[in-house]
Symmetry: C2
Amino acid sequence: MNLKQLSESLGLSQTTVSRALNGYPEVREETRLRVLAAAEAASYTPNAKARRLATGRAMAIGHVMPLTGKEELVNPIFADFIAGAGEVYAREGYDLLLSMVPAEGTEAAYRQMAANASVDAVMVQAPTMDDPRVPLLQELGLPFLVHGRTGAPEGYSWLDVANIRAFRRATELLLDLGHRRIALINGQESLDFARRRRMGFEQAMGARDIAPNPLWMRSDVMTEQYGYRAACEMLDAHDRPTAFLASSIIPAIGIRRAAGERGLRIGKDVSIICHDDSLSYMGNEGTLAPDGPAFTATRSSIRAAGQRCAEILLSLIDDPTQPPIQELWETDLSLGRSTGPAPVG
Amino acid sequence: MNLKQLSESLGLSQTTVSRALNGYPEVREETRLRVLAAAEAASYTPNAKARRLATGRAMAIGHVMPLTGKEELVNPIFADFIAGAGEVYAREGYDLLLSMVPAEGTEAAYRQMAANASVDAVMVQAPTMDDPRVPLLQELGLPFLVHGRTGAPEGYSWLDVANIRAFRRATELLLDLGHRRIALINGQESLDFARRRRMGFEQAMGARDIAPNPLWMRSDVMTEQYGYRAACEMLDAHDRPTAFLASSIIPAIGIRRAAGERGLRIGKDVSIICHDDSLSYMGNEGTLAPDGPAFTATRSSIRAAGQRCAEILLSLIDDPTQPPIQELWETDLSLGRSTGPAPVG
DNA sequence: CCTTCTCTCCAAAGCGCTTTGGGTTGCCCG
DNA sequence: CGGGCAACCCAAAGCGCTTTGGAGAGAAGG
């Protein structure tokens, strides 16, 4: 069933039927109801492909997912972020177009999307300090929203968490617990959030006149093995940290593994604080009596961020001329069982 | 730049230019080269929306991602699976349309996709025993591929791993190590793979005349907390298992946490075998001298499965009349450090 | 009674591509 | 030399929708 058939069956023109269905005012209310009823009865759905061509709108949002590193790792936080964004898109009638490309092909992917207008806007994730995507998308005139910030966070829309404050506060907590030997297991420093978190760490340490040990500051792709290996090396050295600050729950799990293998008790011999994106399957919320959250963590739901990012992006499409929208989210510092007073000696 | 302009600039008809670009034989080679050069020079890209309308092909594959459970969990294995599939789609010029819907909305989502032909085929993930999506998609005439199988795996295409054999073999390994008190931390039994894995476990136990302890057989959404809580309960009982078989590395991490908190050494006091989907950030491959894989595991790369599933699905689109394609993948049983002889006493 | 709006509704022109159904040309062959 | 056949190329008809530019019918106004 298409518009033509539907309009013929109603004895109306395609114009009128189209307008009735799309809520235009040039059609009598009585007629509109008749059209809606007929459409419902015939279970008519406008052909999306035709509509896209006619309107020029793609009714789709592009997410370009770069496969990083030579092993082309897939960041698990994308799943939750996309889930959040996807809900909003679905609700608003937008499709989510996912494009998996090797890191070096991202520019081409965006150019392609802009050239044939296959999306109305794009979401930019995991921005680097000096991310080339920002100027590129501005040049292409494609509306976009950055989840995170670049080094120069002006002139474009973004949503980010207050990384500096989050890690400063986490560090202060460790310091208050008496820890002085604190390791930072960070993400890749090319990513803006990692740099900010390091700054937060350094600020808190500096405020107490403690010089961070450079051997205890690592930065890499945040896998479980990375956390594990880094912790192994540090814990096996004669001079070892009493606390770890990790940029994600994933490497934190690796740190826990390393500690566990060495018979070190978490929250007693070794403390861990991590940033927790509230990943579905890694649930660190546990409020059940005995088992509270496993990790003390700076928390911010990546899923909620995805939802809000989608909302902002859609509003950007509706009015591309509006001034940039920028949102900074505070994190929660939630106490779990992975922190305790620094061991004496 | 569109086809009309390009053809005018070349002094050719749209027909000829279109054919030249699309590799049809009715155009002289010399002309074709001229057209290709001009298109290249003008950086002409055919408008995807127009092409879709004209051809009727969506050049897109649908992935419907149900948000399960009341907390709408996002399964992290989807990220790696989609990454694998996405690579293939990109290579073949297909878009990946991701649709996030609450579990009860999946049927509507598929009907919608079929009705307005917004995708050429769909991928079905995590099938249940008696999955309604199979008959639905057959009714809708939408090509599809199931990753996994339903209870009645006939008459449609699928790709699955040999779950029964995988878990039978894993169980045999534990039995050979002297374990008799083995717990099964399985996925939801409504999912077909979980049932098969249980069967594998039971077969191996039965073959040695050992009756599994029903208290040690759990089945639920495979979160870290689920593994943790199940292990806590079992390990705190006076009668406790010496080995765990887990359906995913995620709950296995929870089991490890529970054991670690109780001072139990993994691979000594407690053995763990899990199924490992080779999730990027959970890398369990580690072949470096001291640290081998953390977990002994039945392994099968979910990413590779995604790639292969995409290839099969695309071939199904090319020829929808071909007989069903069914592929059963064997898993590797890779020894890690989480297994050891059953403790005596 | 005629003009001017306001309501409703319609015919037709796109959107940019693919594809059908021919037309020319030029060459080969009897 | 005329008919037949490739080889090339083209005009035009869609694909199914939106949207522009009216048109007809009453109602309101003078």
